[in-house]
Structure formats: structure tokens, C-alpha cells
Symmetry: C2
Subunit: 374 residues, 2 copies
């Protein structure tokens, strides 16, 4: 068995690459999409479903789990995998993004960030050291450093100051948890907003440190697709080739294809599960809204090219009925399908890379989502 | 294979009996509990779950399915089983109870009952003939006649007049669908409120007609347990021995045990699924509220004597967390467990009857629910 943290590339096709990452709870094939299990469950989806759809790793949100049920409680139960009965890898974010997007009255200082809980208004402090302690309590396979995610529209001066602090915070995280202190991997998060030179600076600073992987943070925060692609294609090649690269919080199927094309290995996004609950479903014929009248009598499967439980078992007419009636089952069946679609997307990408036809694979997705091509 | 509608008794123990009923979509072992799938799905539970927990027959609500998606639509899709991909028996109620409990401005006449939809206020008429046509469109394995369910507190004169109309309505249903016209069975519903002589009268009138089974209606409508048991134990023995007997809308596990003890074969109730969504869970140690603080750190299974997916896989602490966080998964996992508990209750009853120890089995449930013993 490979050493924990070992990242092996099996094939490349242009900048796109496929490989595997060894974690304490098993191997992750890359490129990979990670379903988001915010509070310790992927919404509407149990581990049996996750295994059936071939999920390899899920994401948990440090901010949410810290507030409820509490990382101490999870630690007493043997970590997140023992607690939620998902015995495969888990990545946890650092809570930074949620502090900035969900909590009230956040205040950023060099020490860390103070914020009020969105649940009960209670006051908390996240320092770089604290979020590592929390993630170790969760026994996350892949921990993320605390960072400041600057929103779209932040000026260059603010962004520059912020990325320097993010670098200092990352170093403090590494000091709190030196390599080899345990089986948990630690990824750094590069920032720099929408300024190419700042992206370069952040990457240069962080890649000189000893992390197990590197993320691009601060994308998909309100910018145009063009801006996102510009920064993605500029930054991804600057990340070390021999470490896993993670594009945080991204994105649509075509965003993921573009990420893979730029050399990214890991993705996470709430889109498949959130859209599932809104009735927006991804198919090999494009995105559809299952609530539309045209599906009321449609006896066909949601996606004839999908082999998930939902597509194998139910008609579009029934799925529309469940959605219209706001039946709980609608959320599960739609989520099973959308997650399968996102996982099929990365599984297909791996195969295409191995077979040297990733450009063609990318074109097939551009044909499905022509309006998203930039 | 037995003829459709054939009901075979395999063993009796006192008044309790176990047997099987042949339907167009397979055999149902009795006594049986039928999970309620109001609008064509058991809330939060897919057919895969239903198969895993050993459900043999589910119930659909005619009133709901008529309003949405419409019985015509279901008929065009080949009936309810084809529509919802549950390929085992389905019983549909007549819509009578829902008209009386859910709709606005209902008006009962000899012809039938007019009501306004709880969804959009539109006006509709259910006649005995109409509810049979709807249930045939749904291709229900067991159809129920239209009846008037008189509430607790109705006076004797009203109840007497009502039961006569219910008998006339039942005859009109049978005329609309003569025996042998198709593979759908038709059950009559006896009424009579909380007056023993009226119960006798209703049963005498309806059992002289040619129905495939007989239900006790109008119980569990607000009366005390004592009242319910009095009417149950008085009425059940008056129903034909050679036909399935169905106690509608009942009830708690101990109600079901009492029903079986009185000679009832079939039960349905929203209790296991509704309580699952409220965090009230049935266990071999009694009913628990999973939200209670005492379960926050409880590593044990929900019910050590249960073999369902929920109990095999998750701790009470995790189930409490999911419930507190209002996670969708909570509804599914709790429902899987509660339905398993109710099905285990009837499966255990069958075995106890075959082995001549049903009285002892009943005592074990009285020990679990001492406050419900009357």
C-alpha cells in the first residue's frame, strides 16, 4: 500500500491528469468530485446510496460541525467516519469560507477571525491553530488551512494584504500540525483574488512550504465565467505537478471539465445536491427542470444514458409528480441522479485522459452546455 | 397459484389468525401492516427501502392521487405500480376519509359528496361509482368502497342514518364493479360509530353482499382507547371468518396487537412515518424521542434488537444529530426504522400464532407499552 499522502499520476493528456491519492481511509482516484456533506450527511443521501453511486470521498464543513454537534462530541465517537458511518475518505474545509458567508459580525484580525454562530448568535474565535484542532477532532483525512476568501470586487491592496495573512495563517496551521504528526493530510489554500500577479505571489509563498496538496480558493465567488477561467488557466499550471490540486467550491459540469483541462485533480460543490432539491437535473442531453409540464406524461427515464437507481427505476413523469407534490423522496432520487452525473463526469474524464482523448471529451461537454462555453 | 382474492387461513390462536391473501400483484401474508404512500410514495422511502424492510403491500390515497397527478394520468402510465415502480400489491382507500378530514366545504348527499380540493379550492364530486372508476384507473389491487366516516361524538340518529347510506353506497360500488369484472378486489367498510347495535346492523347489511373483504371504519377518530377496544372486540368477531378483515387507520403497535387478538388481518397507519419525521421512534424498549439530550453521546444502536439499515449502521448520537440539524437523511433513516418495527410486529405475530403463543406475544407488547394497556 502506498504511504498516506502519496499522490501517484497514472496518465496525463495535455495539462489534464489522472492518478490516485492515498489517505488514511483509502485511495481516491483523481480527478474526483466530492459530494458535500455539510453537517455530516450528504443531504438526503445515506452511505448506502453514496456507495451505490461510487462516491470515493465526501466533504464535511468544519464550521457547521464545530457548531453542531461539536467536534469534541465527534472526537468522542471516534471521528467523523465512525460518527456518520462513511468509512471512506473525508475532506473538511477550514470553516473560513462559511465564516465569511454565513456568520454574523465577523471580525478578522491577525490572530484569527471572530464570528457569531448563524444558529444561536453565540460568539466564537477561529484561529489557524483552532481550525486544525477541530479538524483533527473530526479526524479528517484531508484538512484545509484557515484562509480569508476575499469576495469578487475586492481591490488590489486589500487582496494583497489578505493573501499575505492567508500565507501566515497557513504556516501557523503547518506548525500546529507538523508533517507526520498524524494520518491527516494538510492542504494549503492559495488566494490572490482576480489579480494574476497576486495569484502568482500567493502560490509562490505557499508552495515553498511543506503541504500535502494545494487548493485554488476564492473562485466562483460572483465573478464572470471568463474571469474565473482566466484565473484558473493562469494559476493551475503554477501549482506543483507532484501534489494534488483542488479547485474549491467549483462548479458546473463544464467548470469541472475546464478545471481538469487546466490540470486540477479535485472538486467539490453543493450544485448537484442543491439543484436536485430545486428540481434542476443534469442529463446527457443537458440541464432540465423536472417541474416542467412537458414531463407530466413522459414515460422515459430521466437520462437514458445514466445507470443510477433513479434512472433505472423511475420515469420523468413520476419524478415530476414527486417534485410537484413536494415529496421527500423527490430530494433523494434527484440527488442520487445528480451526484451520479457529476461522478460519471470525472470517471469519464479519467478514462478519456488514459486513452488520450480528453480534448474530445471536453468538446462533448461543450456541446451539452453551449451557453457556458467562454 | 391461488385465485385472485383467495384468502387462506394457515393457523389460528384464539381469535388471532394468520394466512395469506392472493392479489393480482402477489400474495400478502396476514396479519399485515401496510405503510401509507399517500401520493404514491411512502414519505422519504423508495421501493428499494420498502423491499429491504420486507413491506408486502402499501396503501395509496385515492383523494390525493385523484387531485394530483390525476388518476387518468396514472392510468395512461399503466396504473400505480407502473407509475411508482412498486411492483407488489397496493390498497387504495376510497377517498372518503380524506374528503371528510382534509377538504373544505364538503357536502354529503345521497348521490355522493361534493368537496373543494385542499390544493387549489377546485370543486369536485365523489360518488360511489366515481371512486371505483378512479381506483380502477389506479389499478389498485384492493379497492375500498366510498363510505361516510362519522366522527367521535356523532349522535345515534345521525350515525344510524349515515350507516344506511354507507350500505347503499357500498352496493352501488359493487354494481359499478361486479365481481369478476377485473383483477381488482373490492372491500366494504362497516360503520356504526360507537353504538354496538349500529355496528351489528352495518356488519349484517354489508356482509350479506358479495365483497372480497371487510373493513372496520370509523375507529381511531378521537375516542378513548377503552371505547376503541370495546367496539373492536365487539365487532371483529361478527365479520366473516373466511374473508380478510381490515382495521382502517389503526394504529399504535399495541393497537395492532389488540387488533390481531380480536381477529383482524390488515392494518394501515401514518403513525410510523409521521412519528419518524417528528423524531418519535419505536423500539423493543419502548417509544423514544431521539431529540432528547440523553442520546447526544449514545454510541449504541437505536434498537439493539432491530436489524434494519438504520440500526445496523448508525448510533443514537448520529440519529439525534441528524434530527437536531433537520437533515433530510433523518426522515429516511427514522422512517426505515419505524416501518421495520411495525412490520416486525406483524411478522412476530404471525410466528406467535403459528406456534400457539400469541397471548404471550401480546403480553410482551403490553410490557413495552404499559400506559396503553386498557
Amino acid at each position: 500500500m502506498a504511504k498516506i499522502g502519496e499522490f501517484t499520476l497514472h496518465a496525463t493528456d495535455g495539462a489534464a491528469r489522472t492518478g490516485e491519492l492515498q489517505t488514511a481511509h483509502g485511495v481516491v482516484q483523481t480527478p474526483i468530485f466530492m459530494p458535500v456533506g455539510t453537517v455530516g450527511s450528504v443531504k438526503g443521501i445515506a452511505p448506502d446510496d453514496l456507495n451505490n453511486i461510487g462516491a470515493e470521498i465526501i466533504l464535511g464543513n468544519t464550521y457547521h460541525l464545530y457548531l453542531r454537534p461539536g467536534d469534541d462530541l465527534v472526537a468522542r465517537h471516534g471521528g467523523l467516519q465512525k460518527f456518520n458511518s462513511w468509512n471512506k475518505p473525508i475532506l473538511t474545509d477550514s470553516g473560513g469560507f462559511q465564516v465569511f458567508s454565513l456568520s454574523d459580525l465577523r471580525k478578522i484580525k491577525e490572530e484569527g477571525v471572530t464570528f457569531r454562530s448563524h444558529l444561536d448568535g453565540s460568539k466564537h474565535l477561529f484561529t489557524p491553530e483552532k481550525v486544525i484542532q477541530i479538524q483533527r477532532n473530526l479526524n479528517s483525512d484531508i484538512m484545509m488551512v484557515l484562509d480569508e476568501c476575499v469576495g469578487f470586487g475586492a481591490d488590489k491592496e486589500y487582496t494583497a494584504r489578505s493573501l499575505e495573512m492567508t500565507t501566515r495563517w497557513a504556516k501557523r496551521c503547518r506548525e500546529e500540525y507538523p508533517r507526520g504528526a498524524g494520518d491527516n493530510l494538510l492542504f494549503a489554500i492559495t488566494q490572490g483574488g482576480f489579480f494574476k500577479d497576486l495569484r502568482e505571489r500567493s502560490i509562490a509563498q505557499l508552495t515553498s512550504e511543506d503541504f500535502d496538496g494545494f487548493a485554488l480558493g476564492g473562485l466562483s465567488v460572483g465573478e464572470s465565467k471568463e474571469k474565473m477561467m482566466e484565473i484558473l488557466y493562469h494559476s493551475a499550471p503554477l501549482l506543483p505537478k507532484d501534489k494534488p490540486r483542488y479547485l474549491m467550491g467549483v462548479g458546473t459540469p463544464l467548470d469541472i471539465i475546464n478545471g481538469i483541462n487546466a490540470g486540477i485533480d479535485m472538486f467539490d460543490c453543493v450544485l448537484p445536491t442543491r439543484n436536485a432539491r430545486n428540481g434542476t437535473l443534469y442529463t446527457s442531453q443537458g440541464k432540465i427542470s423536472i417541474k416542467r409540464k412537458e414531463y407530466a406524461e413522459d414515460d422515459g427515464p430521466l437520462d437514458p444514458n445514466c445507470n443510477c437507481y433513479t434512472c433505472r427505476t423511475f420515469s420523468r413523469a413520476y419524478l415530476r409528480h414527486l417534485f410537484q407534490a413536494k415529496e421527500l423522496l423527490s430530494f433523494r432520487l434527484n440527488s442520487i441522479h445528480n451526484l451520479t452525473y457529476f461522478l460519471d463526469t470525472v470517471r469519464g474524464a479519467r478514462k478519456a485522459i488514459r486513452e488520450g482523448r480528453f480534448a474530445e471529451y471536453k468538446k462533448s461537454y461543450e456541446a451539452i452546455y453551449p451557453n457556458e462555453v467562454v
